[in-house]
């Protein structure tokens, strides 16, 4: 049987408390969904509000001709609105995040495909506008940078940048920016074949700067705003020359996807008016898009990443101090359990292709829409809400508001942290309470079990001197204690009755025995001839034997009563035993082999009844002599060990059968063979134990080590 103590069982029950945090976790997760929904609605409201601001204001979109969706061309150049002017120095840092996101704005197209090796040219680019200028940045990957050799008149003999400009009158002008060395590039108006400049004078209004990079180069470009009007079409291309000897243009990679190289795309400059309105709505963590009917971005403000070290606290929570305190201890645990939302994540600034087309489609149909998606790097979940912008019931465009769910995750984490903190405390308190309770309970049960175990002494007799604990308690343990107590009381009565039984029996038998005895006597006196009869003597003999049996039956009972009332005195056990043995040798001349005694020199003072100790020794020596093998002496020793007098009586002879060592001292147990001349009821060793116990001592019997005899050992406490 597996033993599991109540303490551990209760501990297991306490573990069910762990359901509380689990429940809480589930609840918090549910809440997150609600919170996200709430936020979506809030976003939708925001989108709606912004849309309302933009309603019926076609002029906002009018800075640019609204192109029907069908006219949409992939080669269109989208221009990002900058918030500061840029320096033409080839350095990318003033482009900020735009430089990092360069290349996400469109896919370069080959205007001239190279022969065998396609992959040695690629670029990323971005366009921006600030004030009266249009800026462009090209980050070109080129395995071989070739500078202009000024000894040639032709300009297409080195790596260069081509600008295609076509105004509203469909007049095409072409410019090339070439670099003879890193730094400011020379810009020329070019002929149709891109070979020679139309005039020898460079164009100074277009500024271009060349800066070699590790595996290529960067070109910054600034075009004055007056060159690029509403209907201007613009394309920019990179021409690559690799072979210094041949100086042949191998690849031309451009922004336009038009069917031929001379068909540049439109320039899409976000409406400054919308931008201005939206700037007022800019808040951290939110990104607002305005798109027109053609799904082109008209304006974009805000940044999805939330500022670092933001402290989103549960407002109205009074657990702040508790939380801080718990954070100190449980910080590592929290870090394991909770996903702290990243504050930095990458997302595409404005690439419509990766946006949820369904949302945009739906909103341009005139229905507000919401959606969720993961950020491009899968680090955060983004919420978006879109609302259409109307002008005279005609859909002009849409507002898309995006926001990361980070603050919801944050909120969830806060809740979880609080939950964990509260759970830990509740767990500790409840656990402590239950453990205390269990400890008390088991202690009481153990005490009761110990007490009831001790209620019966090793001899199998009841001792109720102390009573059981908890009998006054009003609970089940009290009931148990009371019922055990009652049981023991009834058992005590019964045991007492059994113990008194021989005495009562002897008493009752005594009277008829006395009748027989006195009748025999009177018979003998009245009829002297009968007195001489052998039958008379046998009858007397029988009566005497019966008498001695009855006497030994009552002896134990009498002794017990006597021991209870006996006056105790201090005496020298050593001297007493010496006298006893001496007397024994005198009074048992027939026991010729005698005794081997071993007594200490010093006094051994005991407190008790010397008469009874003598009676005990008498029984032990009698027993030893009875079981002693012929011509073997009885050994007898006294020693002191641990404040106890140890009396050993040893005889060589028959050994004890197994299992008899304990029972030997019970009343009416005798190993003597029936038919021996003396009448024995097996009370002798019982009396030995009664006396030893009454003196606070113990007695036991065992076979000697050699296995050819028996040792009786009595231990009595010293005075």
């Amino acid at each position: 049987m597996i033993r599991v103590s109540i303490r551990y069982k209760l501990l297991l029950v306490v573990l069910t408390l762990l359901l509380i945090p689990w429940m809480g976790y589930q609840y918090v997760r549910e809440m997150k969904t609600f919170a996200l929904q709430g936020q979506e609605e809030a976003l939708l409201l925001t989108a709606g509000a912004i849309a309302t601001v933009l309603h019926d204001r076609p002029e906002l979109f009018s800075s640019e001709k609204i192109v029907p969706a069908t006219d949409r061309e992939i080669g269109d150049l989208r221009v990002m609105r900058l918030d500061h002017p840029l320096t033409m120095d080839g350095k990318l840092d003033d482009w900020g995040r735009l430089a990092e996101n360069a290349g996400h704005y469109s896919v370069p197209r080959y205007l001239k495909k190279p022969g065998g090796h396609e992959k040695d040219l690629s670029y990323k680019h971005v366009l921006g506008s600030w004030g009266r200028y249009l800026y462009a940045l090209f980050i070109v990957q080129d395995d071989k940078v070739t500078y202009r050799d000024t000894s040639y008149r032709r300009l297409d003999n080195s790596d260069h940048l081509r600008i295609y400009l076509r105004n509203e009158k469909d007049t095409m002008t072409q410019f090339a920016a070439v670099a003879a060395k890193p730094g400011r590039m020379d810009v020329y108006a070019m002929d149709e074949e891109w070979r020679y400049p139309i005039t020898g004078d460079p164009i100074y209004s277009i500024v271009s700067y060349f800066r070699p990079l590790e595996n290529g180069y960067a070109i910054e470009l600034r075009i004055p705003g007056n060159m690029v009007s509403d209907d201007t079409r613009l394309a920019i291309a990179i021409a690559d020359v690799d072979d210094v000897k041949k100086r042949k243009v191998e690849t031309v990679l451009g922004t336009s996807t038009a069917k031929n190289t001379t068909d540049p795309g439109r320039v899409r400059i976000p409406s400054p008016e919308i931008d201005r309105i939206l700037r007022g709505l800019d808040k951290p963590g939110t990104r607002i898009w305005i798109i027109d009917q053609n799904k082109y971005v008209r304006a974009l403000v805000g940044d999805l990443s939330t500022p670092q070290n933001r402290e989103i606290k549960l407002s109205g929570s009074n657990m702040k101090s508790l939380q801080q305190w718990m954070n100190k201890f449980l910080g590592p645990v929290f870090r394991i359990i909770l996903n702290t939302p990243v504050t930095e994540f990458k997302d595409l600034p404005d690439d419509t292709r990766t946006r949820n087309e369904a949302v945009i489609y739906q909103v341009l149909e005139g229905k507000p829409a919401t959606d969720r998606r993961a950020s491009v790097d899968q680090q955060a979940e983004l919420l978006m809400a879109a609302h259409p912008i109307l002008n005279n019931d005609k859909i002009m465009g849409a507002v898309i508001v995006e926001r990361s769910s980070n603050n919801v995750v944050d909120l969830q984490n806060q809740l979880l942290q609080n939950l964990i903190a509260v759970t830990v405390i509740v767990f500790a308190l409840v656990g402590a309470a239950l453990m205390t309770f269990a400890w008390r309970l088991t202690r009481r049960i153990r005490r009761l079990s110990r007490a009831s175990g001790h209620a019966i002494n090793p001899e199998g007799r009841l001792r109720m001197e102390h009573g059981l604990p908890d009998t006054n308690a009003g609970d089940e343990i009290g009931d148990l204690s009371r019922s055990i107590s009652g049981m023991l009381k009834r058992l005590t009565h019964y045991t007492r009755y059994l113990e008194r039984m021989p005495d009562t029996l002897a008493h009752e038998l005594n009277n008829p025995l006395n009748v027989v005895n006195s009748s025999l006597e009177n018979l003998g006196t009245q009829h002297p001839d009968i007195a001489q009869s052998k039958y008379m003597s046998r009858a007397r003999n029988g009566v005497n034997r019966l008498g001695s049996l009855l006497a030994s039956l009552t002896e134990a009972g009498n002794l017990e009563e006597a021991l209870e009332t006996e006056h105790h005195e201090k005496f020298n056990l050593n001297k007493m035993l010496a006298m006893l043995i001496e007397g024994y040798q005198e009074s048992h001349p027939e026991f010729k082999q005698g005794f081997i005694t071993q007594l200490p020199e010093h006094q051994v003072i005991l407190e008790g009844s010397p008469d009874h100790i003598a009676q005990m020794m008498d029984k032990l020596l009698d027993n030893a002599m009875d079981f002693c093998a012929p011509r073997q002496p009885v050994s007898f020793s006294l020693s002191i060990w641990h404040q106890q007098a140890i009396i050993k009586v040893m005889n060589i002879g028959k050994t004890l059968p197994e299992g008899m060592e304990e029972r030997l001292f019970d009343p009416m147990i005798s190993l003597r063979q029936s038919g021996e001349s003396r009448s024995h009821l097996g009370m002798g060793l019982h009396i030995v134990r009664l006396i030893a116990t009454a003196h606070g001592g113990t007695v036991d019997a065992r076979n000697n080590e050699a296995g050819n005899g028996v040792v009786f050992e009595v231990r009595l406490p010293l005075a």
Partner: protein, 231 residues
């Protein structure tokens, strides 16, 4: 005139056997089965000696009660208790019933007769109020009057029962010599005597001496053998 003995014993067979034996020894015997009848009889005529069983019919201590009542009628009437257990003797001593002797069952009728005769002799001696110096011997502080079967210690008489007298007399007769248990068993003139019985007698004797003289130590225990009177 023959002496009158009252026997109070609830068992008719034993009662009649005692009566027969006593009659044979020349005593006049009246028997009673219980306390009320005995009391009625005693009020009619007081016996010269009473033999009382302790347990009388439904009264476990009927003998003791009867003894008290008898004592109130006569201070010097010899009373012999018939007891079944040694402990009863202690009880009798504890109750200070002034019994003259105890006899444990089974009763030897021969010894009973001896006891009765001895007690009558004591009564006679006491009534004569004379001391036969020939029958008196002294041993230190001890004085033994064999005539009145009485003992005195340091001049003070001791109230010993007949059996106790016999034991002290036996020990003091051979001071310094061990009286073995076997010998002392004979001295008590009882049929069934255990070593414990002897120990009990000696204990009570010592207590009686010590009641008078707390330094009394004339009776020495020879453990396992017996007792001796210190020379």
């Amino acid at each position: 005139m023959s002496r009158k003995i009252a026997i109070v014993e609830d068992d008719p067979d034993q009662r009649e056997n005692y009566a027969d034996a006593m009659t044979m020894h020349g005593f006049e015997v009246t028997t009673y089965p219980n306390r009320p009848e005995a009391l009625k009889g005693f009020k009619n005529e007081l016996p010269d000696l009473a033999i009382l069983d302790i347990m009388l019919e439904d009264e476990p201590d009927g003998g003791f009660d009867l003894c008290r009542e008898l004592r109130s009628m006569s201070r010097n009437l010899p009373i012999i208790f018939l007891t079944a257990r040694d402990n009863d003797i202690d009880t009798v001593s504890g109750l200070r019933l002034d019994a003259w002797d105890y006899l444990t069952k089974p009763v030897n009728l021969q010894y009973l007769a001896v006891r009765v005769s001895s007690l009558f002799r004591i009564v006679d001696t006491l009534s004569a109020r004379t001391v036969d110096e020939d029958k008196v011997y002294r041993l230190g502080d001890l004085m033994v009057d064999q005539q009145s079967m009485s003992i005195a210690w340091k001049g003070q008489p001791l109230n010993l029962t007949l059996t106790e007298y016999w034991l002290v007399e036996s020990m003091s007769r051979h001071p310094g010599h061990v009286r073995t248990y076997d010998h002392m068993m004979q001295v008590t003139r009882q049929s069934m005597v255990e070593r414990n019985t002897i120990n009990g007698y000696i204990r009570r004797i010592r207590n009686k001496f010590k009641a008078q003289d707390s330094k009394f130590d004339a009776i020495q225990t020879v453990f396992g053998v017996g007792y001796r009177w210190k020379a």
